[in-house]
Symmetry: C2
Subunit: 498 residues, 2 copies
């Protein structure tokens, strides 16, 4: 019985996945390809599709099927049991969201996105406030319906980081803050000024694009199973593993956003391309969590591409792409790649202050959702916290509260996964170094395939067989902590800002 | 009662339209953006989406609703009656196609497309034959289920040209053949050799692309509500009127395919962009038929862009884009744009022989569907008919039976609409000339907005309020015939091939 029932679950799951894949490509298109005039029709289309997905996920036949399998779970194989656990959790959560709310959320997402874009252009949070308020109300409603009696914010967090709660998150982020704040002070006190010349100046955008692409391909990105395009806000979308779509943006005056952005999104892309294709439409298929996803992008961006050995290999090609850099040394490039300076924009932030940007957002969104902060008070709260935490105050909302796309899209509970990703990345990287002798020497020779192979073998190919908690213990022997990240960042800061 | 019921029909229709729009964008993406590796996942996605659309269209609640409205149609307004007629026809036709067949057709379409692409590359029909046979079987099955007792081919024709039958089509195409064949003979007998220099040689592809884009914008294409991209097989896709996507391809050695291709797809694009946005998700919204759609592309491609007055305006800019054309006259360009020469490839064919390419395909696909021709005998039948009709015989299948994407996608009954489009175009153009005094003088001055305005006013904005039959009588005062096209083409042939 259970075997046939599980096969039936897989068949139903596959069709839901197909529709989610449709929405994913349409979402990519909306960001990257769609002409401006297409926005209203796209909002309708995505809302209807979202409704169909919701209807299918909450279809009584499927609900009964997962409940029946859940009762008989002892007769399933361990893999099936895990697949069922994932399906059961998703289906039962969806049943707690009425179709009408799902539809409203999707419509609000499209509307919020368009309004956010205009507000950001005009640097005015006021233009966006109403749409954001509507979104916060909808997310609170969602949390109220899907939560299991705990805080509303936990219910939202679970959508991105299954099983994560504020009770686990708060001590981790507190410890991270404890590591970070003194180091930021050390940087400021040191008076060291890193020369940014290798990245800041005037650089041909096509040359930047060409170099970044070469690096991505050397990392192992397969462009026969992916694309690289331009968009305002870089992201990795599409459908893993065989149609992965990375975007980036380039700035003629500062190469860092373009280059490290491409490496970051390619880290995501390698995870997606490393998933097991045969599981693509099954409950076990896909990435584990946002934080594990982010660990893959951060590992490549910060632990690999901001290392000396990476630049020992790439410096000659980098200088060839930008002839004005003739004479610049590997050491200069490495220091410039690791320059630390408190600033406004999260996606341009250095590796150290980045986590303070996240902690700021986490505190604000948590308070919004928990009803301790009103939308109208958000810009002031943002600017005040920014000033106290990083010592800088944005002059307008585009440099402050309007800089990120997330809240416009209703992604509350997403931000903390960025910092969790940094912690996972450092911990995974220490294990990779132990497992793969002479990893730095390999980088110097341009061998990135060995690291990629290790990540694919130990992380990517397992899809969702393990929880994030299980995976980190399996790969590193320890639960997630801040120690590896602290060692990694302290050693850099101590060397550059002595 | 009927008012509320009609509103309910509109709401249900709108969601089906949203899903069709999703499929349309995903189809465009498949052709234009998708990496090769994405094909299997895309096939699943489009098949599932097609199944959902079919389920929604044949949902018993909707079926009962249209039946109930159909019985009470006298209580509806004339517009509602027409909307209902369109909805009733679509819904009742869909109920005759089981979900399983709809799913199979969609899967076969994706598979056929991939196989056709490979077979075409390798110039081997044999690689494609099995997939085509499967498609023909599925289409026969579809025709058997949806037909109303008439010939199977009529049932398929109705999907593209509502109401059209072989009984109407055969005399029209016979008359067209009667006009064409002697003119082809006249061209051959005349021994005139038109100098193709203005279009054939070596031309920078980016310059071609830039010029074609300028022409499209001058025609009135709004790139804030559309895109222009590259694809192997040019088409106009997306969602009218606010997200219209035209594609083209350029050849450094022959400009005609690129330039007239862009003008052709822009003619389609103007029709789509001219539709009434407020009706976009209603039963009355959208284009009338494939032939009327094609009339708009042909009118711009052949009746406008192959006229002397068009080139009187554009020749200087054209020569500026391609400096090697210095000294070439308007007369030379006009003659080269209208050169007639029997050849293998439909999409590269001249205005006169083009219709013979269509008549060839029509006869073969009709015989395939009616069971008078087997797939394995298709290449020989193609080559023989080609030789007898046009005096040329393809050397390999890529120049013959594999050249078009249509059959791979299951588009049987589509080809005749191209020639019907030519007939409509000529007939509409004669009416436009009567209504708009001095139209040629306007072209010479670069005024294409007046013609576009007339087309929008008389054709585009009405969506599907009129049938094709009603429209042509309303706009031209006559039913569709071959006379206007005959006058148009005879005058060109007589002047150039005297």
């Amino acid at each position: 019985m259970s075997k046939a029932a599980y096969a039936e679950l897989e068949a139903k799951w596959a069709e839901i996945k197909d529709l989610e894949n449709a929405a994913s490509i349409l979402g990519w298109d909306q960001e990257v390809m769609m002409p401006g005039g297409g926005a209203p029709a796209r909002a309708h289309t995505l809302a209807t599709l979202s409704g169909v997905i919701h209807d299918r996920t909450t279809n009584p036949v499927l609900v009964k099927l997962v409940q029946r399998l859940h009762r008989a779970r002892k007769s399933l194989s361990p893999r099936q049991r895990r697949g069922l656990e994932l399906a059961h959790s998703k289906v039962m959560k969806a049943t707690r969201i009425p179709s009408e709310l799902a539809r409203k959320l999707s419509m609000q997402e499209s509307r919020g996105l368009e309004t956010w874009r205009k507000a950001r252009q005009q640097r005015s949070f006021k233009l966006f406030a109403d749409e954001l308020s509507k979104m916060v109300d909808l997310k609170r409603e969602q949390a109220r319906l899907t939560g299991r009696g705990g805080p509303a914010y936990d219910a939202l967090l679970d959508d991105f980081e299954p099983g994560m709660t504020m009770a686990v998150l708060d001590p981790l982020l507190d410890a991270l803050k404890g590591v970070t704040v003194p180091l930021v002070q050390q940087v400021i006190d040191s008076k060291v000024k890193v020369d940014l010349k290798p990245f800041v100046g005037r650089f041909d955008v096509e040359a930047q694009r060409g170099f970044a692409r070469t690096v991505a391909v050397a990392m192992g990105i397969d462009l026969g199973r992916g694309r690289m395009d331009l968009s305002t806000h870089p992201f990795c979308g599409g459908i893993g593993p065989d149609d992965v779509r990375m975007t980036s943006r380039y700035d003629a005056r500062d190469q860092r956003g373009g280059l490290f952005g491409v490496i970051h999104e390619s880290g995501h892309g390698l995870y997606e391309q490393g998933l097991t294709a045969a599981r693509g439409r099954l409950p076990l298929g896909g990435a584990i969590s946002m934080a594990v996803h982010e660990s893959q992008s951060r590992l490549w961006e910060n632990n690999v591409a901001r290392s000396r050995s990476f630049w020992k290999h790439w410096a000659p090609k980098f200088k060839q792409a930008h002839p004005q850099l003739k004479g610049v040394t590997v050491e200069q490039i490495w220091r410039a790649a690791n320059a630390i300076r408190p600033s406004f924009i999260r996606v341009e932030a250095d590796e150290l202050t980045y986590n303070l940007h996240i902690i700021l957002r986490y505190e604000l969104e948590r308070d919004l959702v928990e009803g301790r902060l009103e939308v109208k008070d958000l810009p002031a709260a943002w600017n005040d916290t920014m000033a106290s935490m990083l010592g800088v105050r944005p002059k307008h909302d585009a440099d402050g509260v309007l800089q990120d796309i997330h809240w416009a899209m209703g992604l509350f509970g997403y931000f903390p996964t960025y910092s969790l990703g940094n912690l996972y990345a450092a911990q995974f990287m220490e294990s990779a170094r132990k497992a793969l002798r002479g990893l730095e020497k390999r980088f110097e020779k341009g061998d990135f395939a060995t690291l990629r192979g290790w990540l694919a073998e130990n992380i990517h190919r397992h899809d969702r067989i393990y929880t994030a908690e299980q995976l980190v213990k399996r790969v590193t022997g320890k639960p997630l902590g801040v120690e590896a990240f602290a060692r990694h960042i302290r050693s850099k800061v101590n060397e550059i800002y002595a």
